[in-house]
């Protein structure tokens, strides 16, 4: 599935992650910026990819700026940005939680 619009969720505060989704045609591509890239880069990408898969999004450009967020925060921000991008934020995807 492709997204309907560009969307943003999260802040640049410490322990948060800001994620932007925009339309893409080349699968899920993630551009990640993180101070903990060396130690947790793969894990951050995996949480984002897995969460997007729950929304059946398979073609999207992801720009993520991480400030040391924990997995639960990354998942929450990804859900929020996915629903905004799909324009489904009025119907929370409870099963994704």
């Amino acid at each position: 599935m492709e997204i309907k619009q560009t969307a943003l969720a999260g802040t640049l505060e410490s322990s948060d992650i800001q994620i932007m989704l925009s339309k893409g045609t080349d699968g899920i591509t993630i551009d990640l910026e993180s101070d903990v890239e060396k130690q947790f880069g793969d894990q951050i990408r995996k949480v984002i990819t897995d969460t997007l898969a729950e929304f059946n999004i398979d073609n999207v450009k992801v720009k993520a700026v991480d400030k040391g967020a924990l997995d639960c925060v990354i998942k929450a921000r990804t859900i929020a940005v996915a629903q905004r991008a799909l324009q489904t934020q009025d119907q929370p995807a409870w099963e994704a939680f």
Partner: protein, 512 residues
């Protein structure tokens, strides 16, 4: 070869530099021989020199060891002025042996390494762009990191033989009598620089404030000084100290600080005449505030406070809650000013403070110390040198030395952002776990199992949960996950000495 904290040390580097692996915190009672500097005899009438160029020309030659102090911290102008002249003079292969390197010196050190001016470095630490530069293998020879006490030991032993010391001072007379208290860019105690003044073959003072002769009180004496150079400005007073000390409002730091206070107050060492040392971080300053109240409530006074001094500590001195402050450096202007006005605030040199090879150092008399940590592992080993990415970004400082105290407390949050502070193995061992007694986090404390006596006195305090350090480590891992191991090359970029001069760990080039 492996040392006694289970660190694999590079045989080639260890052998080439004739180093022994770290074995024990116990210094013992060896007989040692100290060295003495050479003296070029003069009456002292011709010490005043017009320019740094002239004095560099007269003193610095290829291959020499030169030194600086870091009491101006990020307000230092002296280091860059002198190094500029040395680089431009085309001098090569120097060993740089400052008491430490601050951020304002980074660009100049990198330029000096690239130009071949500097070939070796020994320092307490380095941060920022210089730490990054060294961690990426850009200096051929490994940096030697030494604690403040170990630097004093190495100078007295002749392991560091300083040819020329360039020491910035906020005042001096034409023969070189100087202190750190009068003038524009004042920093209080000259503690670390006193070693250089006493042991360097050539001592060059740089000052922006030439005083009538004789200038007193004199911390550095005319008997030690070869040249006095007048410069326009030795430092930026606004960047020397941290300014007015503000108490933290961070609830996590306050929780840690109040728990540290609980640990101290309930330890067997909290009694009239006890002694303590705190650092300058937010939590350490808050501890001083809690401790003040506890001392008033329990009618207990301290015999001395030690180390790097801040205004909250000198306030306790003025209140009569501490009898003496033994001052090797001042972290803020309040503490620096207090040294001027209060004779109970004694300036001490780095040897008196912390040199293990001594007839008694102050740290040997210390009851309680509160120290910080970037990482602490399940063996209680502490890292204050390399960041979570393996890059050099810290300093040994007085960490290993002060950890000699009877009660050594590490105060640190369990996690910082996504980085665990309590880990299975620290990236770099700086202070051995044998020196550490209690870890205080916002979640509770862990007591070193070797301290059965403390398990008894601190094991059942109201509101202070006690965990094993393994439990705290697992708690941290459950929050942040398990990080991918850092990758390093085989190349050794730095060695960390223990305070006795043995090697406690090696730092390797990071792989990017």
């Amino acid at each position: 070869m492996k040392n006694n904290v289970n660190r694999e040390l590079p045989d080639d580097v260890m052998n080439a530099l004739d180093y022994q692996p770290y074995q024990t915190t116990n210094i013992g009672n060896p007989d040692i021989q100290r060295v003495a500097p050479s003296v070029h005899v003069q009456t002292g009438d011709d010490k005043l020199v017009d320019s740094i160029e002239d004095v560099v020309k007269a003193t610095v030659k290829d291959g020499m060891t030169i030194s600086f102090h870091h009491h101006f911290r990020n307000g230092d102008f002296v280091f860059n002025k002198v190094m500029r002249v040395i680089i431009d003079a085309g001098i090569k292969n120097l060993t740089l042996a400052p008491s430490s390197l601050t951020g304002v010196m980074n660009d100049m050190v990198i330029e000096a390494i690239k130009a071949g001016t500097v070939a070796n470095i020994t320092s307490s630490g380095m941060r920022g762009s210089l730490g990054d530069f060294v961690s990426h293998g850009n200096l051929k020879n490994p940096v030697i990191f030494r604690s403040h006490g170990d630097r004093a030991r190495a100078i007295e032993h002749g392991d560091i033989k300083i040819d020329v010391a360039f020491l910035g001072v906020p005042n001096a007379d034409k023969l070189g009598n100087a202190n750190g208290m009068d003038g524009k860019a004042v920093f209080g105690s000259l503690g670390y620089a006193l070693m250089d003044a006493q042991y360097a073959n050539k001592v060059v003072l740089l000052t922006d404030n030439l005083m009538p002769y004789p200038n007193t009180p004199a911390s550095i004496k005319q008997t030690q000084v070869d040249y006095v150079v007048q410069v326009d400005q030795v430092g930026d007073p606004d960047k020397i100290g941290s300014g007015a000390t503000r108490f933290t409002k961070d609830p996590k730091e306050l929780k840690i600080a109040s728990t540290v206070n609980d640990v101290i107050v309930n330890s067997p060492y909290f009694k009239d005449g006890f002694s303590f040392q705190t650092g300058s971080g937010g939590a350490a300053l808050a501890v001083t505030r809690y401790l003040r109240q506890a001392m008033i409530d329990n009618k207990i006074k301290a015999s001395f406070a030690l180390g790097g001094i801040t205004k909250p500590t000198t306030d306790l001195l003025n209140e009569g809650l501490i009898d003496r402050v033994m001052d090797v450096q001042d972290f803020d202007k309040g503490a620096a000013d207090s040294m001027h006005t209060n004779p109970k605030q004694q300036e001490i040199d780095a040897s008196w403070y912390a040199d293990p090879d001594n007839k008694g150092a102050m740290v040997d008399q210390l009851d309680v110390v509160i120290l910080s940590a970037l990482e602490i592992d399940t063996k209680f080993n502490v890292n204050v040198m390399t960041g979570s990415d393996g890059v050099i970004r810290g300093a040994v400082g007085g960490h290993q030395d002060a950890a000699t105290a009877k009660l050594t407390i590490i105060s640190a949050p369990l996690v910082r952002g996504r980085i665990a502070t309590v880990v299975p193995d620290v990236t770099t061992v700086v202070t051995p776990g044998d020196s550490i007694d209690v870890l205080v986090t916002e979640y509770g404390i862990a007591i070193n199992p070797k301290r059965k006596d403390l398990q008894e006195s601190l094991g059942h305090l109201a509101g202070v949960p006690v965990y094993t350090i393994d439990e705290l480590q697992k708690m941290a891992a459950a929050k942040v996950g398990t990080p991918k191991p850092l990758e390093f090359t085989d190349r050794t970029v730095a060695l960390v000495e223990y305070r006795d001069g043995s090697v406690i760990d090696a730092i390797h080039e990071v792989k990017d």
